[in-house]
């Protein structure tokens, strides 16, 4: 099962857990699955059917340009990280 790493600021939603194993073959499925067991996680990460603009998802260390649509392998590591932009918005970014 893929392992999702929960950033510090989200851990109150995960009852303090830093890593959770969840079923799913895409980031979207993983978030839905997580939200079942830990309600609120989806609202934290997703808006209008996509990842919030200041959040990126890194699967196995590679930041995905397709966000929720990203495929995930059974042994993948999934991280939610701050989006690094080309600089278009100054640094109007918030860390997760």
């Amino acid at each position: 099962m893929p392992t999702v790493f929960i950033p510090g600021s989200m851990r109150e939603l995960s009852a303090g857990q830093a890593e959770i194993q969840v079923q799913g073959s895409t980031v979207r499925e993983i978030i839905s699955e997580l939200d079942e067991s830990h309600p609120g996680i989806k609202d934290w990460l997703v808006e209008d059917n996509r990842l919030k603009p200041n959040i990126s998802v890194a699967v196995d260390g590679v930041v995905s340009p397709v966000g929720l649509l990203q495929d995930v392998e059974q042994d993948s590591e999934v991280h939610f990280v701050a989006a690094i932009s080309g600089g278009c918005l100054g640094g109007m970014l918030a860390a997760v």
Partner: protein, 766 residues
Amino acid sequence: MSTQNYEPNMVLSTTEFDVIGTRPVRHDGADKVTGRALYGADIELSGLIHGAILRSPHAHARIKSVDTSEAEAHPAVRAVVTSADLADAGDQMVDLGEGAMPLKFLRGNVLASGKALYRGHAIAAVAATSLHDAQEALKLIKVEYEVLPATLTAPDAMRDGAPILHEDLKTTELGKPTDKVSNVSNHFQHVKGDIEAGFAEADLVIEREFNTATVHQGYIEPHNTTVLWNNDGRVQIWCSSQGSFTIRDTTAAILEMPVSQVKVTPMEIGGGFGGKIPVYLEPVAAVLSKKSGHPVKIVMSRADEFEATGPTPGSRIKVKMGVRNDGKMVAAQAWMAYEAGAYPGAMVVPGSMCVFAAYDIENILIDGFDVVVNKPSTAAYRAPGATNAAFTTETIVDEMAEKLGIDPLELRLKNAATKGTRRADGPKYPRIGCVEVLEAMKNHPHYNAPLEGPNRGRGVAIGFWFNVGLPSSCSMSVNADGTVMLIEGSPDIGGTRTSLAMQAAEVLGIAVGDVRPTVADTDSVGFTAVTGGSRVTFATGIAVIKAARDVRDQMSQRVARIWGVKEEDVEFEKGVFTSNNGTKNSITFKELAKQLSSSGGPIVGRAAINPPGVGGSFSGNIADVEVDPETGKVTILRFTAFQDAGKAVHPSYVEGQMQGGSVQGIGWALNEEYFMNPEGKMMNSSLLDYRMPTSLDLPMIDTVIIEVPNPGHPYGVRGVGEANIIPPPAALANAVYHAVGVRMDRLPMNPVAVMEAIWEKEDVPA
């Protein structure tokens, strides 16, 4: 490597190609050495009039009234605008494809409404038949201000009772919105391992506090724009920006019009370094054009550049690091407060992701604070946020090495991040070149060269930057003579037309001179994100490779049809199509090009991508300095820059990036700063007083290109535009220490700062 084979510029290549890695003359070269290249300010249109902008003389003030009647009555004036001409933004968010931000911030920075938040904040604008008349008319505008106390640094703005810039800005605390109104827009954390346990395990703990000044990108060409609001309602813009599509989309958002109604034509751009991404002038010029019926040109003055565009943040950073006697780093903690300027967004997030990025450390805690202050709204500057951060870490690592009696490069090698190292913000690194860069530094003749004489010292430092991917589009058409037109959308600041054409030529097996690249306007090419984040040669490069492969595949189909063979039986190598099916056939790319129209019509390849597989880049410096103990002046005797390029497509321009970035880092280290008076007025807003390095201040900048191929790019490209600015401040601070024994904890390390440090050490009252 011995001193015998020392060369000033070395490329440590691991892979060979036909075109990639060569050094052709750039396609836009002749235009640029003859004065024919047209930059933004060079455009001339019929009926063109000139705009000028009235700016706040106060760093923080309520705007009580603006009376433009006298200016409007000036005979040469054709239009006047104030923030009243831009519709109220309400709570709308705009998403420019790279993250959303409140429209009121974007719009408020273009024309202040309600309050002026920094000296230089735009208040009103005038367009007149000549620039001199426009400037004269500005003096006729009467603004009544209620001057408010200003707050100018992050620590000051964070204290209780500090003047508040935005009465509705509430702190986001560890990811959650709060009700606290303050100048801290965001406090976030990265946590890895157990910081307490880490420090408990350490034999040596070093803790220091650092301050760095606000600095400017200092591109030589000022911001400029020319806008025509046409009679059919279409807005046409000619400007020199790092991102034509960003200008288009932001202007459309501010003016509340469909994106398709705005067309941006990129002119040549005279430097940017991150500073030519935000939008300042276009919406203002557009409204002036609408009101006057003329195209309007606005060019910023140099003082406006300093006072009214986005410099990069000043910061206060506290760092504490713990190491065992055997040299293993076991704990690292940082508290980082960056000054965003007037609106949130201080690049502290990327700074926090870079502060310990070079090292594999089990236990990390990072607190980041994004703080608004009464200074211009900050923008990106080459590896934004990382230079401030690495200055602190790399100084402390040098001190660790000294105290432990370990060679500073050995200490770094012992702790270097590699593939699989977990970053402070969670993910593991893919293949990176930290170790290779450190090895190259250790093996370089400079590192082992004797350095004799009093007050001389050698320092080293390294830096890391993530680089970005982001969308790029392009198309490619084949001419009947076998030459190729490449249409792409990445404004070319430093030779990227050529680094892209080279990638096309490599795929097609033709000469780079046979590929003619054009940076197209926003009507003529698909969406392409900014020239920033070191992305063009990587990301637009992948688009170009894909489009070239598309051309190649379509050509193969033609060959198959002409020869009457199966497509799978056609092979392509080095510009020649062959088939071994039955009879032996072969045809070159050029010969085939002649037959396109008779074999099915023209061929156009295309690609539009948003690539994963970005490869971060490590850089390093070895610097020798001499410090004058009487004046505090630091002279650089020798400087060598190292960087992992992944693959250097055009090594001369990679070296150029490394040299230019190094020298910007040197300026940041030794001289550059926004020198503010207590009221928030910048006292050095000219290129005489804001002292950027001149040719006379520098030695040659030697370079070593390291190539650790990025698996995410077909030729291994990582992107080299940014990481090179990161190490110089720390390398020079370490060199100063080894020269005169003082640890510098602030930037710039100008003569005053160095003398104060020397006096403090010698206990002389300053």
